[in-house]
């Protein structure tokens, strides 16, 4: 029976390198190793074009193409007959392959040698199993069940903060993924900011990555999953963020005071875009210290999960704009006692420091400063999303302002700082400010 390509995808990642056979016009065969084969769909794959070699010469000369692929899980071997269609030098498939190749090159000591010039797209004409002994595959993971359960958890969430917590917990509980970050897209600034994470010593909430930098940034730019099975130095986020800064000359604009979370020795990385209604909302990123930890099935499952998550995020962003009918309870807060908390605000970038420790900047910084100013001036503790939207002190960047996400960001930073200032949701589209110590607000 001819197997479907999607059922033998473990053969494509190059753990056991595949082989490609072509021939010249004189009927002389040529054989070469493949570094990877990219699955596109059941009828199409892409191969890397790295050098102009005999294989490429033969392919462009019209040679039929045969692959020999082997499973590192069972030892099963397959022969594929392909037809060359075209070469792509940019776009999602190219970027997926480029990232993967960087990992493979690093793993095999070929960094600087393996360089992707293009993605050669082929139609798969035939797949034949090669007779021979095989081993039993490892017990399968039922991704559909995990996905069903994870999506059910999402459906029960009442607000954005709960949704984010539940999403990360579901990835751990249902998919066994221990290290995960969720980053939101700041469209106006071309940045991604960490809004939630799990499995790290420091949450890194508030840390930023430029769109286009590293696995996460490229995933965002191309809106396509990026998966690397081996450590690739040039795709590590620490380095790419530094490089990205140098390249775009905007080091001052990027949040660098808050370090990115992440495993310093991540060997497997998978970043999946979170989109909804044709908008990039963010990126879901998972990683592992093991080689080849995430396969095509993990990628499929996370893409499906991210689709559901994206719609849920969009829903909660909008739902929180519609405040509950009941007016906010705006009782004058009691005057807190104790030594004063010095909160300093720099208007140039809306950065806020609490007792000389950096807390946050940008829109979230402006929001906090407005809340604290109102508290000091009027003892005000009840606020609404609607009110913030029209507050001239905050200057939200247009329609897709991610206000609710920025409030979650602020809430988390305050929680982590534990300085006696916190905000809590008090209903749909409204929240309260609590201040445990007297405040001394300092401008500049």
């Amino acid at each position: 029976m001819t197997p479907r390509l999607e059922t033998i995808r473990e053969c494509l990642d190059g753990v056991i390198p595949g082989l490609i056979a072509t021939s010249d016009r004189e009927g002389m065969p040529n054989l070469a190793y493949l570094s990877q084969v990219q699955f596109i769909d059941n009828e199409h794959v892409a191969l890397t074009y790295q050098f102009f070699n005999t294989t490429r010469q033969n392919v462009l000369g019209g040679s039929p193409v045969r692959l020999l692929l082997s499973s590192h899980l069972t030892g099963a071997q397959y022969r594929l007959t392909l037809q060359y269609l075209r070469t792509e030098t940019a776009g999602p498939i190219f970027e997926q392959m480029k990232a993967k190749l960087a990992g493979i090159a690093s793993h095999f000591g070929m960094t600087g040698v393996f360089r992707l010039l293009g993605s050669d797209i082929y139609r798969v004409l035939a797949i034949e199993p090669i007779p021979g002994p095989t081993l039993a595959p490892p017990p399968p993971v039922n991704y559909l069940t995990a996905l069903r359960r994870a999506n059910r958890h999402l459906a029960g969430c009442g607000n954005l903060a709960a949704l984010l917590e539940t999403a990360l917990a579901s990835l751990a509980d249902e998919f066994g993924i221990a290290h995960v970050m969720l980053l939101m897209h700041d469209e106006g600034r071309g940045r991604l900011y960490t809004l939630a994470s799990r499995g790290y010593a420091q949450s890194g909430v508030g840390s930023e990555i430029p769109v286009g930098a590293g696995v996460i940034g490229i995933c965002a730019r191309e809106r396509t999953p990026i998966r690397i099975g081996f450590m690739a130095a040039e795709y590590s986020y620490g380095r790419t963020v530094r490089d990205g800064l140098a390249a775009d000359g905007q080091a001052d604009a990027l949040e660098t005071a808050i370090p990115l979370p992440g495993l310093p020795e991540a060997r497997s990385q998978l970043a999946v875009p979170i989109t909804a209604i044709d908008r990039l909302l963010g990126v879901l990123y998972v990683e592992s210290v093991a080689d080849l930890h995430f396969g095509y099935d993990d990628e499929d499952a996370l893409v499906a999960f991210a689709a559901q998550l994206g719609l849920a995020i969009l829903h909660h962003q909008h739902a929180d704009d519609l405040a509950d009918e009941t007016p906010p309870v705006d009782e004058a807060a009691p005057t807190p006692a104790g030594p004063p908390l010095v909160v300093r605000h720099f208007a140039a970038n809306d950065s806020v420091f609490i007792d000389d420790d950096y807390l946050i900047k940008g829109v979230a910084g402006a929001i906090l400063w407005a809340l604290l100013s109102d508290f000091v001036e009027r003892r005000r503790t009840g606020f609404t999303n609607k009110g913030l939207r029209v507050d001239p002190r905050i200057r939200l960047p247009g329609v897709s302002d991610n206000l609710e996400a920025r409030l979650v960001l602020l809430q988390r930073r305050l929680e982590e700082r534990a300085a006696g200032v916190r905000i809590d949701k008090s209903g749909r589209g409204r929240f309260t400010l609590s201040v445990a110590r007297p405040l001394q607000l300092v401008e500049g």
Binding site: V15, I16, L19, A21, T22, S23, G27, M28, P29, N30, L31, A32, Y33, Q50, F51, N53, T54, S63, P64, V65, R66, L68, S70, S71, H72, L73, T74, G75, Q77, R79, T81, F108, G109, M110, V113, F114, I130, P131, G132, P133, T134, L135, D291, L292
Partner: protein, 154 residues
């Protein structure tokens, strides 16, 4: 055609792969079990017959073959071409060569993360199903990834 150093290289724990093609140029290939350089300079590649019947038929038809030898730990890779390939039986004493070669290859690839059981499954040897494809190398190319890839050395 094949100097001593290259001859020694292809007889250590490298991967041994063989391809031929049919009249339309459609290739067929197999992962070989081992190889041996004969006294007259010809190269014998040991393969299982069943998984590569069409490859063997193509060898009988044209005699054209391409073979690739690669050392996984260094990526050093060599391609040999032949125009006079033919199929012979395997001498029982060649079984020791196959066994030794497989052991050496396992030592090469296990550190790269491929389980030994998988390697030994892919390179299973049924002595009753063995054939040797013997040819005179008519061209030798470096195929190690890098600036010299594709360079003819003989």
């Amino acid at each position: 055609m094949l100097d001593q150093e290259h001859a020694a290289f292809i007889q250590t724990g490298v991967s041994v792969n063989l391809a031929s093609c049919d009249a339309d140029g459609l290739g067929s290939m197999i992962r070989g079990l081992a190889c041996k350089v004969l006294d007259d300079g010809r190269v014998a590649i040991f393969v299982q017959r069943t998984p590569c019947r069409d490859l063997l038929a193509n060898v009988e038809r044209s005699g054209n073959v391409a073979s690739v030898f690669s050392q996984p730990s260094t990526h050093r890779t060599l391609q040999l071409k032949g125009r006079d390939a033919r199929i012979t039986t395997v001498d029982p004493c060649d079984l020791a060569i196959i066994r030794r070669h497989t052991d050496e290859f396992v030592q090469e690839v296990v550190p790269l993360g491929v389980p030994e059981a998988i390697i030994r499954t892919v390179y299973t040897c049924d002595p009753l199903d063995l054939a040797a494809v013997v040819f005179t190398p008519c061209a030798v190319f470096i195929q190690t990834p890098g600036p010299r890839a594709g360079e003819a050395v003989a």
